[in-house]
């Protein structure tokens, strides 16, 4: 019975993937891409990777999907040019090459496949964490995680730099993203408290159970975007110092903890024995805040209204 479910799921994933690349209309493709993200999340659940599933649903399907939809809306306003056939063929060749390389690597993997899972579990007690994914992210490969958090802020800087000079420090505009309506305002008012609670829970529980900063950040960002799109609040001006400080708070705290590690535990990003878990849980608070702000502002886009 579960084999049947897996086969159907796999066929659905392939069919939706094919639909995404073959439909002509960009909006249909993006809607397909969001559905693809959710199906892929289900596939990760079937592989018992609930952490990856949550990230795929929140970032892969949710955040990326909204970003692409906003991108299409901007292109429709006459700001984009049609692309030539050569670009399509080039993109298809590169993607197909990638897919073939990954398929080759997976199909030719030795049996049993090489794994670092036992090594990850062996030292997990030293960190005091219950979730091996969090142990990898904050313990063994903390440098990667640090750079990941910085990359998100850099991406936001890239988006902000798209604004014309006169508007660059002003407000992004989300008014066109939804028709003004009481219904949306009602949803924003009702759902946001639940979403906030759930987002905070995801960040909190990440140390021992599936969850973590990116998933929590995506949920919190969605709630803020809902409030912004419903018109209950204005998006902040990009020159706002408090906002810029909050965006840097997560990476800055992570860096500070990293340097403190040199002095307390003898290496960059090392945690003193016994204190690893409280430090990691404390770090997750500013990291989640920064990620949530950055994701929401990525969707909000470059400033479109002059600063006042």
């Amino acid at each position: 019975m579960t084999a049947l479910f897996d086969i159907v799921l796999l066929l659905l994933v392939l069919a939706v993937a094919f639909a995404v690349v073959s439909v002509r209309d960009a909006q249909t493709a993006v809607v397909g891409f969001i559905a693809f993200g959710l199906l892929l999340a289900l596939a990760w659940v079937r592989l018992s990777s609930v952490d990856v599933a949550l990230t795929e649903a929140a970032i892969g399907g949710g955040a990326t999907g909204v970003l692409l939809l906003r991108g299409i809306a901007r292109l429709r306003n006459g700001k984009g040019q049609p692309r030539g056939r050569a670009l399509h063929i080039g993109a298809a060749t590169v993607s197909a090459g990638f897919a073939a390389a990954i398929a080759g690597a997976v199909l030719h993997a030795p049996d049993p496949a090489p794994t670092l899972a036992p090594a990850a579990m062996e030292h997990i007690a030293a960190l005091g964490l219950g979730n091996p994914v969090s142990a990898v992210l904050f313990g063994y490969r903390a440098l990667d995680t640090l750079l990941e958090k910085i990359v998100v802020v850099l991406a936001l800087l890239g988006v902000w730099s798209l604004a014309p000079d006169a508007l660059a420090s002003g407000r992004p505009d989300l008014r066109g993203a939804a028709l003004p309506s009481d219904t949306l305002a009602f949803l924003a008012r009702t759902l946001t408290p639940f979403g906030l609670l759930f987002g905070i829970y995801l960040a909190w529980t990440g140390a021992d159970h599936p969850g973590g900063t990116f998933q929590a950040g995506a949920v919190l960002a969605a709630m803020w975007l809902l409030v912004l799109m419903a018109g209950l609040r204005e998006p902040p001006e990009t020159r706002n110092r408090l906002l810029r400080g909050a965006l840097m708070l997560g990476p800055a705290a992570f860096l500070a903890a990293g340097f403190a590690g040199i002095w307390l535990a003898g290496a960059f990003l090392a945690f003193p024995p016994g204190a690893a878990k409280p430090i990691i849980v404390l770090l997750e608070i500013p990291l989640t805040l920064s990620i949530a702000l950055a994701l929401a502002l990525l969707v909000a886009g470059p400033a479109q209204r002059a600063p006042r």
């Binding site: 028709l179 309506s181 949306l184 759902l191």
Partner: protein
């Protein structure tokens, strides 16, 4: 006694699945956005409601039963609002076009 509860679960979940199937058929077959939405929301509301109702007797504890009910309520809230928004957009487009 357990047999009766299990039977209830099977019947309710199957009925829920049937409504999802009917809603999907409506989504694919109906001619315009509003009637498709009508089919979809009716199926969603009844389908998910019946599935959650059917799963309630299988819940391991009171708190997991409450979680199921809460998930249903939140899905309801999101689905109902989203369909209102889509309907409004469809009317808006119809008036403009």
């Amino acid at each position: 006694m357990m047999g009766l509860l299990d039977l209830f679960t099977v019947v309710a979940v199957a009925a829920g699945a049937f409504f999802f199937l009917a809603g999907t058929a409506g989504l694919l077959r109906f001619p315009d956005a509003l009637s498709r939405l009508h089919a979809l929301t009716k199926a969603d509301t009844l389908g998910l409601g019946l599935i959650v109702l059917g799963l309630l007797p299988q819940a391991a504890s009171v708190s997991s039963g409450l979680k199921l009910a809460l998930a249903w309520l939140l899905a309801q809230l999101a689905a109902v609002t989203a369909s209102q928004l889509i309907a409004r957009f469809a009317l808006h487009e119809r008036r403009d076009g």
